[in-house]
């Protein structure tokens, strides 16, 4: 479902971090155009 899709990934430090999301989505064929992690506390 992500193949060929452009993706912006927002992660959270204590949840799922940006690079982890990007890694999963890249493996699923997505084009990750931006990935970042934020701290929401």
């Amino acid at each position: 479902m992500f193949a060929g899709k452009n993706v912006v990934a927002f992660g959270e430090r204590d949840g799922v971090q940006g690079p982890a999301i990007a890694k999963c989505l890249t493996a699923a064929g997505a084009n990750v155009v931006f990935a970042v992690t934020e701290c929401v506390v």
């Binding site: 204590d14 949840g15 799922v16 971090q17 940006g18 982890a20 970042v36 992690t37 934020e38 506390v41």
Partner: protein, 482 residues
């Protein structure tokens, strides 16, 4: 080989409701909306309310964090009966006294307080059981001098109960890193860290300040000037104020993970025989006051981010009774490690436990992030302590140490509710240090693991986060039960 032990930990809060308006978020948002300042003022708590707030009582050690599970929610509507300003690990200082403390911390005449206000505050501080020796509480100003300074745009106002009582001046006409906002941030750190250190050395773990031979500051705030932003050294500034005349020191920077790096470094320095008594200090974050104030106003609840935190920890040579830091099992999130929760916990928790032949469930209590969930969940954020404990429980289940249905039991048994103000490095595992020391020495638990994490990515130099863990366990000299 000499072992390193934790000889004491102090935790203080300074209740600073007027400074909430000078926090980063309120400073940006209040000018954008008519009436927001008044709404903010209307949702600030009194000192008495802040004292009776159950998480604050846990922070200063008057109740164990586990007891929060039995306090009715919302906690701000269920004050602790008979709550006192002083607790076993520190105190909750009111704002007027904290302004006096910042004045005493200021050696460049940058904090101006109106003369009548200053003399009242000086009298209060002289009557404080631990602060009667404070110097620098003279030189009050006429309120007209303060107003003129503010009119010239050279200072920030200091209010008490909404009334102007002084100002903080810029330290340079052009240097952005010495503007009044930055000076106030630094002095708030210095004063709150000093207060924690004074409680530590004078009361919690009585020690002559001259016997401290090194200090490490683990706060996130950067002090410096335009040519060396973040140059430091806050540790030495705090040590000077506390009379640690024979010490030197340095600052450790790693966002919220710095306290764990500092503990690991201090333990190594003790064990190597380089120093005998090392004080670790961290002050409060002015910028984080009122971070979620608009959510709290919208929910018509008190603005709970109204306190600055300060923590001080004494690490020293083995005294035969204090809990030992296991330097043979320091957990580190290496650069090559991944960033998923599983990868982080495998690296920071499982690997050091493997070195000791222990399982996740062999650690009695885990100290992770202690952000007060009442502050975060009300703003649509997660209950950070809970999700960290659940991740640890899930890992224990994956490893077959517990059943999949036992994760909630794991959280109850090995975790605790969050009880710290959302002050960055302050909630990062260390608020449990005093509790852990007492619980280990009292035989309630055998050990505890402190897991710090840091949001390195916020500085935009890397996408990495950080993680360090430290295990504290019962002193082997006490094995056999005495």
């Amino acid at each position: 080989m000499m072992r390193a032990v934790v000889k004491g930990a102090a935790s203080i809060l300074a209740h600073t409701p007027d400074l909430v308006l000078l926090g980063s978020k309120p400073t940006r948002e209040i000018p954008r909306f008519d009436g927001l300042r008044d709404e903010c003022m209307a949702h600030l708590r009194s000192h008495e309310e802040a004292v009776a707030y159950a998480p604050n009582q846990a922070f200063i050690g008057s109740i164990r964090p586990d007891r929060l599970a039995d306090v009715g929610k919302p906690w701000y509507e269920h004050p602790i009966e008979g709550a006192a300003r002083e607790g076993p690990y520190g105190e909750i200082m009111p704002e007027d006294e904290f302004y006096g403390l910042m004045k005493a911390a200021d050696v460049f005449d940058l904090i101006w307080l109106e003369e009548g206000f200053l003399s009242r505050v000086a009298a209060k501080l002289q009557g404080h059981p631990l602060l009667g020796d404070l110097a620098g509480l003279e030189g009050g100003k006429a309120i007209s001098e303060v107003e003129e300074k503010l009119d010239r745009g050279e200072a920030l106002p200091l209010n008490f109960n909404g009334e102007l009582v002084g100002c903080v001046c810029r330290a340079h006409e052009e240097d952005e890193d010495l503007r009044a906002e930055v000076i106030l941030e630094g002095l708030a750190v210095k004063a709150s860290a000093f207060l924690a250190l004074r409680h530590l050395l004078a009361r919690v773990s009585p020690t002559d300040p001259r016997d401290v031979d090194y200090l490490l500051d683990f706060g996130e705030e950067a002090i410096g000037d335009r040519y060396q932003r973040g140059g430091g050294n806050m540790a030495k500034a705090v040590g000077e104020m506390a009379g640690c005349l024979n010490a030197s020191g340095a600052d450790v920077k790693a966002f919220c993970c710095a306290p764990m790096h500092a503990i690991a470094s201090a333990a190594a320095l003790i064990q190597a025989g380089i120093f005998k008594e090392i004080a670790l200090v961290g002050g409060g974050s002015l910028a984080k006051l009122g971070m979620k104030f608009q959510f709290h106003i919208k929910k018509d609840m008190p603005i709970l981010e109204d306190v600055l935190g300060g923590i001080a920890i004494l690490v020293g040579e083995d005294d035969g009774v204090s809990p030992v830091i296991r330097t043979d099992a320091i957990g580190m999130h290496r650069i090559c490690a991944g960033s998923s929760a599983r990868e982080v916990y495998e690296e920071v928790v499982v690997k050091p436990l493997d070195k000791l032949g222990k399982r996740i469930i062999d650690i009695d209590k885990y100290a992770t992030e202690f952000h007060n969930p009442e502050v975060t969940v009300s703003a649509g954020r997660p209950d950070t302590p809970l999700i960290n404990y659940r991740a640890l429980g899930a890992l224990a289940a994956l490893r077959g140490e517990i059943g999949r249905g036992e994760i909630d039991d794991f959280v109850r048994k090995h975790g605790m509710p969050g009880f710290s103000p959302t002050q960055g490095h302050i909630p990062s595992a260390i608020p449990f240090m005093g509790h852990a020391r007492d619980m280990i020495m009292g035989g309630e638990i055998e050990n505890a693991m402190f897991v710090g994490k840091g949001s390195l990515f916020l500085a935009r130099m890397t996408n990495l986060s950080d993680g360090v863990s430290v295990i504290l366990e019962r002193n082997p000299a006490l094995k056999g039960g005495d």
